[in-house]
Amino acid sequence: MAQRDPRGTSYASRSDGPVSEVAIRWKHPLDTGVLAFSYPSPVVADGIVYAVGQETLGVDARSGEKRFRRSYGAGVSPAVGPARAYRTPTVAVPSTRGVTALHGHGGHTIGGQAIAATRWTTTSDQDTTLINDSSPRTSPVATDELILAYIEGALTALETSSGNTRWTEATAFTRPAVHDGVAYVGLGPGYILGAIDLETGSVQRFEPADSFIRSVTVSEGQLLVATDDALLGVSPNGAVNWRFDDERYHGWGESCLAAANGTAYTGISTAAGSALIAIDTADGSLEWESPVSVSQSGKFEPPAVTDEMIYVPTEGGPLVGIDQKTGDISWQFQDGETSTWSPVAISRDALYAVSDETLYALEEA
């Protein structure tokens, strides 16, 4: 899923991505649409890389062999989760009409025609108009045999295997971050931090700040809550542990965090433009600032993190690998004229990202 795990950390703990120089392991054409200004991150699960654009493409992560190509498009990443009754995972692809769940290996193809590709669907027949555009802007999250997705504006918990709705929460509006069977999410009217029990859908409400909540990430049992004017460290019981609102940085509403080993990383606006910063999640102090201009599409794209490296798409430029300890750039990668990169998905020793109608697998050169 987008931002890798249900907590939204973008942290790949057992992976060794490229450190000093990168090379292309394989690449595949992907129909991303001619007017795409940003690309959803690919998702890696069960040995398959799933990438979406105007279609859904499944590719073997190691060999690069195409597994399937299906005509289900999406503007945000799919969520892939294990399904109790099935031998393959469920791939939840969100669209304006709801969620379409595909078989993990794409169903079957007979005579070049895809058959039985879908497992279940919540799609309605309602057409989307330009005035009432309900395109999902938040990627679904797969957790505990549930898919958490926004359907017609309401956060909906769908059982991964059957597609049955377990509960809905109409006032939620951020990507849910899941910890210990609870989904933490921003709730209406905007400054409420909600804790939704995954089993029952019951909601506990906290007010950690008096400004709009824009994102929630869970790091080592603590909630990292980005509001319009600060980053907060919040306990699961709603108590605020620390507040980071250094006046050199602004536009926290556009930040998108990754978190690993006691540090949070995000692109952030500065007086000179933008930067990538690292913040100690124990006390909310600044560890370092890198002049890297993280790609921004409404919000800054989320970095992807391993134990050594941080990978981010830069604004109109290359994909970069950054030393996690210092914030120094270790490598940059562009393939010809590529200019816009999706956030990175990491699996084992490879990175997966989309740029200019192509899905790339990158590895250490």
Partner: protein, 241 residues
């Protein structure tokens, strides 16, 4: 002196069907039990991890005619064929078994009812033949979402075919070979189209409305199936004399 059967009108067929059910209440009981079984399986399917397609009744703002070539009971939770792909063996067996149980119950009830009403003998061969045709129809069923422009002519063609082949279920149940069934049905219904259309309208609408009742809709639909059998029996007896 034996009372003479009225002419083949929709009202006469419905009255004749009602008369036959009153004389054979056991048939209503059999379809009631089938309805309870189907509703129970619907309940089981709602709770298991295999996806189902839910019946859209009047709550969804749609009204349609539910009248099949074979006796039709609405399953409020049905299994799309695509949901069977990649299932773990135990869930595949579970799902297929449940579908076979309720499909089999419907076949047995239909063959039993027709043979009782037409005073014929139910045979394993005719039940198997009926079951095979039902399986083929189920697998071949397509849900066409074509809009009004194309949907209206397609709907008219579908209703016309249902009317012309309305006796197929009775003929299959009473042992007519499959290849003869459709030809015989076409000949039997010649000149009776509007009367049978009325039957399709009344029984098909009642089937949809009763099936729309939450939880027990399948029981209502199954009772409509008993009416379906009785009315088609009345038609077959009319045209055979």
């Amino acid at each position: 002196m034996e009372p003479t059967e009225p002419a083949v009108t929709t009202a006469a067929l419905l009255t004749g069907g009602s008369h036959r059910l009153r004389k054979n209440p056991r048939i209503v009981g059999v379809f009631f039990l089938v309805g309870v079984l189907i509703a129970g399986i619907d309940f089981l399917r709602r709770g298991d991890p295999v996806p189902t397609a839910s019946f859209s009744g009047i709550q969804a703002g749609t009204v349609s005619l539910r009248f099949g070539l074979l006796v039709d009971v609405v399953f409020r939770q049905s299994t799309p064929i695509s949901a069977l792909v990649d299932l773990q063996p135990r869930w595949l067996v579970w799902t297929v078994a449940l579908e076979l149980v309720r499909g089999g119950a419907l076949v047995i009830a239909s063959v039993y009812a027709y043979t009782q009403l037409l005073d014929e003998t139910a045979t394993l061969a005719s039940a198997a033949r009926y079951g095979c045709v039902m399986l083929v129809f189920t697998l071949a069923a397509v849900d066409i979402d074509s809009g009004l422009l194309l949907g209206l002519p397609l709907g008219i063609v579908a209703v016309y075919l249902v009317v012309r082949f309305a006796p197929v279920s009775a003929l299959l149940a009473t042992g007519t070979p499959i290849q003869s069934t459709f030809r015989a049905s076409w000949q039997m219904t010649r000149g009776h189209g509007w009367s049978l259309f009325g039957v399709v309208l009344v029984v098909g609408l009642a089937n949809h409305l009763l099936a729309s009742i939450p939880l027990v809709g399948s029981v209502g639909s199954s009772l409509t199936a008993a009416v379906h059998v009785a009315v088609i029996t009345a038609f077959v007896e009319h045209t055979s004399t």
